[in-house]
Amino acid sequence: MDAIRTLDATDPAGSSGPDRSQRRRVGLLHRFANPGRFLRLAARLQPWTNALALVLTGWGLIWGLFFAPADWQQGDAVRIMYVHVPAAWLASAGYVALAVCSVLSLVWRHPLADLAAAEIGPVGAAVTAVCLASGSLWGKPMWGAWWVWDARLTSVLVLFFLYVGHIALLRAFDEPQRGYRAGAILALVGAIDLPIIKFSVQWWNTLHQPDSITLTGAPTMSTSMLWPLLISALGFSFGFAAIVLARLRAAVMEQRLRVLLLSRGNAAAGAPS
């Protein structure tokens, strides 16, 4: 329980009496609220996510760039797909992770969820930026325009601004706990954008083509292009996880450091201990 109190020390607003008594009963969920246990598990996980990210991304992208066939009408420009589509999937998946962390934070007051949300945000924003930029570089030679305001492109741009807004909101408060609360609410309100992104190409006519890979139907893509795409997407996902994991470990350590220095500062100032 010492560890939980370490995190709670920076969290005067979020830990009131009844919650604390419940917290002892909720075993599984709060097991990882213990930063020591989280750090040990994460340190063991990190080499695996790193290795899988490097190997799978390298494999998928080299396959896509040099060995997959060119498209019959798009030529080699179709190879942009191997970075654009994984980035697009991850932009949405990262936001789902952000929303899950926000629920854990708002309902269960999970201290690690706040830190995780704060670390997922910037990585998600970067992935969304890659999706938008690579899509622009694909759209210019194929469609004839860098950008159009159709429902798909606009809803993904909104997703980017949601990520950026989340990052800004977390830093807008003097008291971190209030920032986490506001950020979690923003993230959950913004989650309404996810189904709009997904179904925009079906609900409205757009310049962006519909999805080639769906859960319900067979892919409308040659298998010689599908495999490198799936491998690249898997590699990108592990890369996302690896970066978020490393940032989260650093964030937990930094918080522990702050608490240690604070308590030491108090002790040095002659506070009764």
């Binding site: 942009i80 570089l137 470990r249 650093a250 240690l260």
Partner: protein, 51 residues
């Protein structure tokens, strides 16, 4: 390869951003780790003990 500038741009941007994010995360992690270790060693009695 047709459309080479566009392809190079998309891949370069993606890999560049990925490399930057990874390096930044690694540096931040190693700095946090070493600072935490230094502080814990300086005053082990103050709460540096592991749970």
């Amino acid at each position: 390869m047709t459309h080479l500038p566009y392809i190079a741009g998309a891949y370069g941007l993606t890999l560049g951003l990925a490399a930057w994010l990874s390096m930044a995360a690694m540096l931040r992690l190693s700095r946090a780790r070493s600072r935490l270790r230094a502080v814990e060693q300086r005053g082990g009695r103050m709460g540096g003990r592991r749970p």
